[in-house]
């Protein structure tokens, strides 16, 4: 049943991706700014013939629907073409170079958000309106309402500049870069058993990771708190207590498990937002990942690169939602997949 459900949903991914790519293609073409103009930039004397030649070289002289058709045909076999703004390198090569950095940061922010949010939500729910709950509520409000770029700069100033606890930019101490296996420096360092490198990579992840995790942690914390409060009032929790189970077992085994069911969906949605947040955070921290690549590509009217990056984002978003649905059904016996 899981297999059929997942297969069905994966098939649905195809029209979604086609739709997304069409919208992006259309938007990029409607946005003022011609990629050829950008390529030529401040270059010296240029003849119309040279401009036309470039335009035809990149197929930009063809009608919109032909350009889009060609894009689809090539993308179907994994060829996203040549980047306009990276000196003729292929889009896959440019993306592959930046993907590990973004994966590492996103995974880290995800783990950080969950690790902060679930215990905080549980503690807050145990004594609603208590001092911890109030503090956590204020923190959550700040986490949700602070714009990422501002929070990023504040974290840099406080933890990097004033306290000298954490590095501001970069990914790892350059003398400690671990042997390239996955491109995720923390993973690679662990695989190689290089603890100093692992620690350095982790420290470099802290500030951008925290800035990225803040809004997600806040939302998830609030969700866990409110569903825990609901669950704790249920009869079966009272019953568990009446049986004389230790409080940790009541909370951990009976209450939290049930409280997590509605949380799963929020986590998936928030992880999607985490991905979009990384464009801002990566720009603020000058973190060399996909988000910054996307921002630069949009500014340079680099159509093929924008397409590829947006498709990666869209695919992750759809897969996250699929994952959430499967997990939700698995956690909640009342939900059946169809």
């Amino acid at each position: 049943m899981w297999g059929r459900f997942a297969g069905h949903r994966l098939l649905q991914l195809i029209p979604v991706l086609i739709g997304v790519s069409f919208i992006v293609f259309l938007t990029m073409h409607l946005t003022p700014g011609d990629p050829i103009e950008h390529m030529l930039g401040q270059a010296g004397r240029i003849t119309q013939a040279q401009i036309d030649e470039l335009r035809s070289h990149y197929g930009l002289d063809r009608p919109f629907h032909i350009q889009y058709g060609l894009f689809l045909r090539n993308a179907a076999v994994g060829d996203f073409g040549t980047s306009y703004s990276h000196q003729g390198r292929s889009v896959s090569e440019v993306v592959a170079e930046r993907l590990p950095a973004t994966l590492e940061l996103t995974l880290f922010a995800f783990v950080l958000a969950i690790a902060l949010a679930i215990p905080a939500g549980v503690f807050a729910s145990l004594r609603p309106q208590g001092p911890f709950d109030r503090t956590a509520t204020v923190a959550a409000l700040l986490g949700i309402s602070m714009p990422g770029f501002w929070l990023g700069i504040m974290l840099m100033i406080v933890f990097g500049l004033r306290l000298h606890w954490l590095p501001i930019s970069g990914r790892v101490n350059l003398a400690l870069i671990p042997q390239y296996v996955t491109g995720l420096h923390t993973f690679d360092a662990l695989l190689a058993g290089q603890w100093a490198a692992f620690w350095s990579a982790l420290k470099h992840l802290m500030l951008p990771g925290l800035a990225m995790a803040a809004p997600m942690a806040a939302m998830v914390m609030r969700m866990v708190r409110s569903s825990m409060i609901g669950v704790l009032a249920q009869d079966y929790v009272q019953f568990a207590r009446a049986k004389g189970l230790p409080e940790t077992a009541v909370i951990g085994k009976h209450a939290l498990r049930n409280a997590l069911i509605p949380t799963v969906n929020i986590v998936a949605l928030q992880t999607g937002l985490l991905l979009s947040g990384n464009m801002i955070i990566e720009t603020v921290f000058q973190y060399p990942g996909l988000g910054k690549l996307a921002v630069d590509a949009i500014a340079a009217a680099d159509y093929p690169l924008v397409q590829a990056v947006v498709l990666i984002y869209a695919t992750s978003y759809v897969l996250l939602n699929l994952g959430a649905d499967v997990l939700h059904a698995a956690l909640d016996p009342r939900v059946r997949l169809a």
Binding site: G33, H38, Q87, L99, P100, L103, G170, A175, L184, Q286
Partner: protein, 541 residues
């Protein structure tokens, strides 16, 4: 209630039990994915930590832009040039005072106006160990002028001037031939770095752009796009120009260039001592940087002139009186002072004062709203003028301030914002009436700006400007081998342009760098180059 697996059924509880395994796999998944993808990025496969002594002894520079190539011949980016100049030397260079000094050339002489003979320094080697010879010079020149079939045209061709070819006379002598008399070839050669023919032909243009080899004081260790460019001292360096002591290998163990495009990030990194030099300090942060306990500001005069351009080929600015009215409509000094906080200079004309042939007799710009109104009335605009004022996004506030100040003279300018390259190309097609833009002239020779902007056929004549005397004077100046004769003509052109007013409201911004106190011998330069040969770094406390 126990989760019993009935035939072929996969229960919720089994699923959950395997959840831990699934979660672990999900964690590893992205890693595996990127490992698969890494197959595409060849150079990544061998990447590992840099030598600790290199990281410790290297100077770290925060750049304000990323680089797309390291090929000296295939860019028009000042950032790329600033990095590449540390890897690859040229025949001629400039010192910090912008004096021209021989670098790979030992000396040169001009024979019969069109033939320049350069004697090359001997015993110089490229980073790959091969010797530097005249053949590498002819290869470099041929590639730039497009004389090598099968290679893409170089965007630096027009920075070199009308060169028709180069010829190796012997292994250490080369002749460069120009199409006509061209008095400033040596000035133009500072923009070209010498590339080794053999290495280039062996690895091809793509690999050369990633892994260039030159004769410079540093050689490339690694370039991780978007992240860093690491170079290390080249111990067999011939020493550089004897006219710029000290001569010998570089002081620094290496340099790490990092693109940090956000100014705030650059400055915080400087303050936290993660970088030693931060380029392009915004004027409003200059005083703060200067007041830092561990860093200071380094300042040089700028070479880029910002100006308001007027389209002389279209109404209303085709009338000279209207253009003159614009010159009197606004005084740049208070606006420049307010927006750039004393970190810029209002100018009477398009040339900066440190440029060759600068005319210091032009009157200072000033506002005379009454005179502007009178001129407009005379030109048939008794009720003033409505115009659209185009600029790029970064100049919006400045443009609005200019528009506001012009209102007093009866000019109602509506500011419209464009993307940079988009506006530039409209200007090249002479489609805009009034606009705020800029032109950089790091050669500091008028030939890099006056003919480009104001000759009838200038490729960036945004103004539809045609003036036969200007065309003739610029043509003569281009060919006059006597510097005084050239300077006289440029002065005449500046006076005509002042009276004719295709441009007004000129100003030039200073070049501002934040430099850590650990760094000695770093000098901000008007041309924006970052030569690291003579720079040194105090050991960390």
């Amino acid at each position: 209630m126990r989760g019993v697996s009935s035939a072929g059924r996969y229960t919720r509880r089994q699923f959950l039990k395997q959840g831990a395994g699934v979660a672990a796999a999900a964690g590893l998944g992205p890693g595996l994915l990127s490992a698969l993808l890494a197959g595409c990025g060849r150079q990544q496969a061998t990447r590992r930590g840099l030598r600790a002594d290199l990281v410790r002894g290297a100077l770290s520079v925060a750049l304000d832009a990323d680089v797309q190539t390291l090929d000296p011949a295939m860019h028009r980016s000042r950032t790329v040039e600033a990095v590449v100049r540390n890897l690859c030397d040229g025949l001629v260079a400039r010192d910090a005072e912008m004096r021209y000094v021989p670098q790979l050339a030992e000396s040169w002489e001009v024979q019969g106006d069109t033939r320049w003979v350069f004697r090359l320094r001997q015993g110089v080697t490229f980073h790959d160990g091969s010797p530097f010879t005249a053949d590498d010079v002819t290869f470099t020149i041929d590639r730039i002028i497009g004389a090598i079939p099968g290679l893409p045209p170089s965007p630096r061709k027009d920075l070199l001037g009308p060169v028709s070819g180069a010829e190796a006379l012997d292994p250490h002598t080369v002749a460069i031939v120009t199409e006509g008399p061209y008095p400033i070839l040596h000035k133009k050669l500072v923009f070209q770095e010498i590339c080794p023919r053999a290495y280039f032909e062996k690895v091809g243009p793509d690999e050369f752009a990633r892994n260039p080899v030159g004769t410079g004081p540093f050689r490339l260790v690694e370039w991780v796009p978007g992240e860093r460019i690491v170079v290390e001292r080249f111990s067999e360096y011939y020493g550089g120009s004897p006219e710029v002591p000290p001569v010998g290998p570089a002081e620094l163990a290496g340099v790490i260039f990092r693109p940090l495009e956000e100014a705030a990030t650059r400055l915080v990194s400087l303050e936290a001592q993660e970088v030693d030099v931060a380029v392009n300090v915004p004027p409003d942060q200059a005083d703060r940087v200067d007041a830092l306990p561990n860093a200071q500001l380094s300042v040089a005069e700028g070479t880029r002139t910002h100006f308001v351009g007027l389209n002389c080929a279209r109404k209303p600015f085709s009338d000279r009186r209207v253009r003159e009215a614009m010159r009197y409509a606004v005084d740049p000094r208070p606006i420049v002072e307010q927006f750039l906080l004393g970190r810029a200079q209002a100018l009477p004309g398009i040339l900066v004062p440190i440029a060759f042939g600068y005319d210091d007799s032009l009157p200072e710009p000033r506002q005379d709203a009454g005179k502007a109104r009178a001129l407009l009335r005379e030109a048939g605009h008794p009720d003033g003028l409505d115009v659209t004022f185009d600029c790029e996004a970064t100049d919006k506030r400045m443009a609005e301030a200019i528009a506001g100040a012009m209102a007093e003279a009866g000019v109602r300018a509506e500011v419209r914002v464009w993307k940079k390259d988009n506006l530039l190309n409209q200007l090249r097609r002479q489609e805009r009436d009034m606009f705020l833009t800029s032109w950089g002239n790091s050669s500091l020779d008028p030939s890099g700006i006056l003919p480009v902007l104001f000759r009838s056929d200038g490729y960036s004549n945004f103004f539809g400007y045609r003036h036969s005397a200007v065309d003739r004077l610029l043509e003569e100046a281009d060919r006059a081998m006597d510097p005084d004769a050239r300077a006289r003509r440029y002065v005449q052109v500046q006076r005509i342009l002042h009276d004719d007013t295709p441009t007004c409201f000129h100003f030039a911004q200073e070049e501002l760098y934040g430099v850590s106190d650990r760094v000695s011998n770093f000098h901000a330069r008007p041309d924006g180059m970052l030569p690291m040969h003579d720079v040194s770094l105090a050991a960390e406390a």
